[in-house]
């Protein structure tokens, strides 16, 4: 495998490749025998399955099924994060996006992922704003304006499905447009750009390095998801705008599922870097209004869309009526939100601790999952233990309750509450 570091399949790889001579595999790419994963012997699935003493393969099958399910393994250190975000999503719409390495082609996979991303983004960051830009025919086109309404963006994305990718991408034009869109953003918001870049080149009208310098000056963070390979200019772009943190900002897609995962990673708000927090002379306090809802018998006009609607929310400052939240009051410029919107972001700030897998043993303290009350498999005697046996128990370190893998994933991805800890009234 002869890899040019500039075009290596993943960012981690290219860095390690420079240091090693390629004999020793870096941890991320290690296979079972210590070399690269692709040098491993192929393991046939039917060799793994072996009957246990009673002639049943049930325990092994359940172990295999479990190993397929991916456990939630995110970093849970509570970081200070920029919760109020403004993001521009830049989509590559040049003719390289017609490539069929993803089925049916790159562009349709990208759009369906983007639609999912928009939904998830607003679900987890309700007080944030988004805008979408595409790179097509060497220019940047605005698809949707900066707004906090997910439906607008999803509609816009559905509309560009019919659009055929054409011409060359221009990273510089897109970034300049992002600069323009993020120019007026208030200082307490983050300014982020997420670029989906399919091409290996960019055709720019001017000096892109100057644009990168401008982005740095305006404190705009750029993250790139590459679809083909690493590109030097993106590397520079990410390094410069992320205070040298390339590892978390520039990724290249390895397979289709990975593309989606990378997209979804961008949903989590960025941690505030040390450099940033030290440089600032203080954090901002934002004045917000918590409007009360009214319901009328007659429709009245709302001040945001000038449409006659039943009910709505009354701005506590100027008493004008708006129909959707969160929004900025069109009359008095007060940010109007519900306290529930704020609560939605809490789990980014106070993440739930990860559960620990209980080691395989003969006897376990629990027989049922505390969440869903499914029965756990019994203990395994050491003599009959196989490689694929698991305890199927994942324990919360605080309340020492055991959960099954489905509940573990659900608790960390959706619920963000440990039922065991919440069910104990003695713990505060």
């Amino acid at each position: 495998m002869d890899l040019d570091p500039e075009f290596a399949p993943s960012p981690e790889h290219s860095e390690d490749e420079n240091n090693d001579d390629g004999k020793k595999a870096p941890d991320a790419l290690k296979g079972a025998n210590g070399a690269y994963a692709w040098e491993d012997q192929y393991r046939r699935s039917w060799d793994i399955v072996q009957e246990d003493e009673s002639g049943s393969i049930e325990s092994i099958v359940s172990g295999l099924v479990e190993s397929q399910k991916k456990r939630y393994m995110k970093n849970i250190t509570p970081f200070q994060r920029g919760i109020i975000r403004t993001m521009v999503l830049v989509l590559d719409f040049s003719n390289v996006m017609m490539e069929k390495d993803f089925r049916p082609n790159r562009v349709s996979v990208m759009i369906s992922n983007a639609i999912e991303f928009v939904g998830e983004f607003f679900d987890q960051n309700p007080i944030s704003q988004l805008s979408i830009v595409i790179m097509r025919n060497g220019v940047a086109q605005l698809v949707s304006e900066v707004s906090g309404n997910p439906h607008d963006h999803i509609e816009a994305l559905k509309n560009i499905r019919k659009l055929e990718p054409q011409g060359y991408p221009s990273l510089q034009n897109a970034l300049e447009m992002c600069r323009g869109l993020l120019l007026h953003v208030a200082s307490h918001c983050t300014r982020e750009v997420l670029v989906i870049f399919g091409a290996l080149f960019t055709s720019d009208p001017g000096n892109i390095h100057k644009t990168i310098q401008d982005l740095v000056r305006e404190k705009i963070t750029v993250r790139v998801i590459g679809l083909t390979a690493q590109v030097a200019v993106c590397q520079e772009l990410c390094r410069m705008t992320n205070y040298g943190d390339l590892k978390n900002s520039y990724h290249v897609v390895l397979y289709e599922q990975h593309f989606k995962e990378l997209f979804m990673d961008a949903v989590t708000p960025l941690a505030v870097t040390k450099v940033e927090s030290q440089k600032k002379d203080g954090f901002t306090l934002v004045k917000m209004g918590f409007p009360s809802r009214v319901s009328d018998n007659q429709p009245t006009f709302c001040s945001c869309h000038s449409k006659a609607v039943y009910g709505g929310y009354i701005c506590p400052n100027c008493k004008s009526k708006v129909c959707v939240l969160p929004t900025v009051c069109p009359c008095c410029d007060l940010m109007l939100i519900l306290s529930t919107h704020l609560a939605r972001s809490y789990h980014h700030l106070f993440p739930l601790k990860l559960f620990q897998e209980v080691p395989v043993s003969e006897e376990y303290s629990s027989s049922h999952c505390f969440g869903c009350q499914t029965q756990f498999p019994p203990g395994v005697a050491p003599s009959t233990r196989r490689e694929y046996h698991t305890s199927s128990r994942y324990r919360c370190q605080d309340c020492a309750k055991d959960f099954c893998i489905d509940c573990d994933v659900f608790i960390h991805e959706v619920l963000h509450n440990c039922p065991g800890c919440e069910a104990d009234s003695r713990k505060l």
Binding site: D281, G282, F283, G289, F290, C372, A423, S425
Partner: protein, 342 residues
């Protein structure tokens, strides 16, 4: 033949609402708050007792089961001091006692539910620790015991999630009913909010049957999940509420106008003074809500320092222009207000 193809038939094909109403089995998960202190208070004030409520709930569960043979029920308790939140029915232990099995003249499943629920609750109540007696005697408000309603709801959601993921049961629609008596102060805010969002994401309606003091959190829960929030004014008719207003199948929800409370208090409470406010300041780091700007210009929750310039800008009071004095100062300069004069 044309006459036979009458309106009812053609309509059911064109109108999508008709299609939705289907005999799909559903799961009803009920969470009952059995906070002993609150029940004591409630039994004193109103003519309602835990016994009545439990018997009404049992009727409700049974009627849910009788609607469709593949319907499921689950019952959780919350706020029990010695046990926290717990699953009551279906019991997981293999020791499913056989003593309820032979009751002439009664559907066996009903008898089984009645028996096991009553037994378990009785068992739990008898087991309440002695410290509880001391607690009741002591001054109110001093002892803070964490409410476990969020825990019970989390457990129910885990259970529902498992059902939604399993192959044979995934057609099962689920809903959650919370019978609550405690007030909001016992609830841990973040956990309750997390359960609300989780159920919203899973499209599970949370119905709330509220006795005792009204609860803003549960109102928001019902509102966010298209559920019903009912404040029970006449507890003696509880069974009526449970089997009508709180008995709306998930399949019917898109069609029915829900008998829920429309005006909901969405205002937030200040983290420092605990006052309910409608305009406040939000820390951009930890999102805590403040009604006043802290003196030391630091966030009370996360201790981040606020920008001084911004604080002064926020503190700035609106300037009042003094009225022009008409008579003698007409010729005087120009009469515009200066900050000193204001």
């Amino acid at each position: 033949m044309d006459a036979i193809a009458d309106r009812a038939f053609t309509e059911s094909q064109t109108n999508p609402a008709h299609k939705l109403v289907d005999e799909t089995p559903s799961l009803l998960a009920v969470v009952v708050d059995i906070n002993p202190l609150e029940w004591r208070k409630l039994e004193k004030e109103q003519s309602v007792s835990l016994k009545q409520v439990v018997s009404s709930i049992i009727v409700m569960l049974n009627s849910h089961l009788s609607l469709n043979s593949s319907n499921h029920v689950a019952l959780y308790i919350a706020n029990s001091y010695s046990h926290g939140a717990q699953l009551i029915y279906p019991r997981t232990e293999s020791s499913k006692s056989t003593r309820f099995l032979h009751t002439p003249g009664m559907y066996r499943q009903f008898r089984f539910i009645d028996g096991s629920i009553v037994d378990t609750i009785e068992h739990l109540l008898n087991e309440q620790p002695d410290t509880l007696l001391q607690l009741i005697g002591r001054e109110q408000g001093k002892q803070h015991i964490k409410g476990t309603l969020a825990g019970a709801m989390s457990m129910a959601l885990c259970h529902i999630n498992k059902i939604q993921q399993s192959d044979e049961l995934n057609a099962l629609k689920s809903r959650l009913l919370v019978v609550s008596i405690s007030d909001d102060s016992t609830l841990p805010y973040v956990s309750v909010m997390n359960t609300i969002f989780a159920s919203q994401k899973m499209k599970i309606s949370v119905d709330v049957c509220k006795l005792g003091p009204s609860s803003t959190f549960l109102q928001q829960a019902a509102d966010a999940t298209n559920g019903v929030y009912i404040y029970i004014t006449q507890p003696e008719g509880l069974i009526q509420y449970l089997t009508t207003a709180l008995f709306i199948d998930p399949m019917l929800r898109p069609i029915i106008v829900l008998p829920t409370d429309e005006s909901i208090d969405f205002r937030a409470s200040c983290f420092i003074t605990n006052k309910v406010i409608d305009v406040g300041y939000v820390c951009s780091v930890c999102l805590c809500i403040l009604s006043v700007i802290p003196e030391d210009e630091k966030c009370p929750t996360c201790h981040s320092k606020f920008d001084h310039n911004l604080i002064t800008k926020l503190k700035r009071k609106p300037k009042v222009l003094p009225l022009k004095k008409k008579d003698k100062e007409l010729g005087d300069k120009n009469g515009t207000a200066t900050p000193e004069s204001a």
